[in-house]
Symmetry: C2
Subunit: 215 residues, 2 copies
């Protein structure tokens, strides 16, 4: 019993190491140009060893890497609704600013996956739709609470919010001085009757630098 628990723990650690290695390799070379054998080398295993833990091969490794990103977002958003959920999006964005590698990896993978022949194409389409629905739902709840401006359509506001989020990440990765979290907060506020509260004390201030938040 103890032995099998130990085995399980060891296997979970191994999986964790492999996912870390997959993350690093994908981030460096992109998904298309990466191989399972590269990932195996990175973690000091054989290709067969990696496939023992991830029978689905490179696609399964991609899933694991993406799930890890989504899990964190789900933790932040759990149990929230309406404007509370929207404020959560700003918090997630603030975290992202400290995780350049993760943002870069996700940007590269989601761009590659726009190719309809890409093995993860459907997965990314579904993911975008799932996120768009969740954000639209939050805007609909905000509307029911009387928190939306007159005439704002929840689905349209959600797509606009997602587009702004993705676009700001790309500009930021390309060296532009943008405060993503504050810019997204300001963008969400254009749809709300009452603005989301500003950044907490200690968050990066934007007063003396140009950001896309000014109106």
């Amino acid at each position: 019993m103890a032995g099998s628990r130990g085995e399980y723990r060891k296997s979970a650690q191994r999986r964790e190491q492999i996912v870390e290695a997959a993350f690093a390799v994908f981030a460096k070379a992109g998904y298309t140009a990466s191989s399972v054998s590269q990932i195996a080398r990175e973690v000091g295993m054989t290709q067969a060893g990696v496939l023992h833990h991830f029978a689905g091969g490179k696609t399964a490794l991609l899933e694991a890497v993406l799930e890890r990103r989504d899990e964190r977002a789900e933790q932040v958003l759990e149990g929230r609704r309406g404007t509370g959920f929207l404020a959560g999006l700003v918090e997630i964005s603030r975290e992202q600013a400290g995780l350049r590698g993760a943002v870069q990896l996700y940007t590269i993978l989601s761009a590659e996956a726009t190719d309809p022949d890409h093995p993860a194409h459907e997965r990314f389409r579904d993911r975008v739709e799932r996120i768009a629905s969740a954000v639209a739902n939050a805007y609909a709840e905000a509307r029911a609470d009387g928190a939306l401006r007159e005439g704002v359509e929840p689905r349209a506001a959600a797509l606009s919010t997602l587009a702004m989020t993705e676009g700001l990440e790309l500009l930021w990765l390309n060296g532009q001085d943008v405060d993503m979290a504050e810019a997204i907060r300001a963008h969400i506020n254009t749809f709300l009757a009452e603005p989301l509260q500003p950044a907490l004390p200690g968050a990066r201030q934007t007063a003396d630098q140009p950001t896309p938040t000014a109106r």
Copy 2:
């Protein structure tokens, strides 16, 4: 003389064919995973033959592919200023909607190039800065003409416009039903005292479908 003119024309045609092939190969596999020999095969030449026309190799081919996209944008924007320039951005976006392959290629390349070690990293950073400056300049001209809303900061409006443009392209490539041109027009209008004129008759109408344009 006639012979050398003929040679020149033939060489220009060859270059054109090679750029087309590079476009197709990059669009399919991304920049990192593509090779000059693949591009040569596509156009029925040897690798040495391609390198005769593009001595800089894969990087030079990438430059040529990107320049072609930018040339078209420059044609549309030439001689325009202020809100006329901003209206040009909407026109470019409308053209893009008919060029899925080009938008996809650019999205993949610019995502790959966010890696500081990518050979085209500096080029993409510079390109983003050049575009941001040009758009900020147009907003500044609009402000001088009294065409901006009170308190709009040209540079911030420019970055916001670029982020929205890039983000909408990604959502569109990921299967979301967004009318990019109309969404960008609506976004630019949030900064203007007088809205840009709506879509010309014959342009896709958005009345009965959700787009990020609604407010």
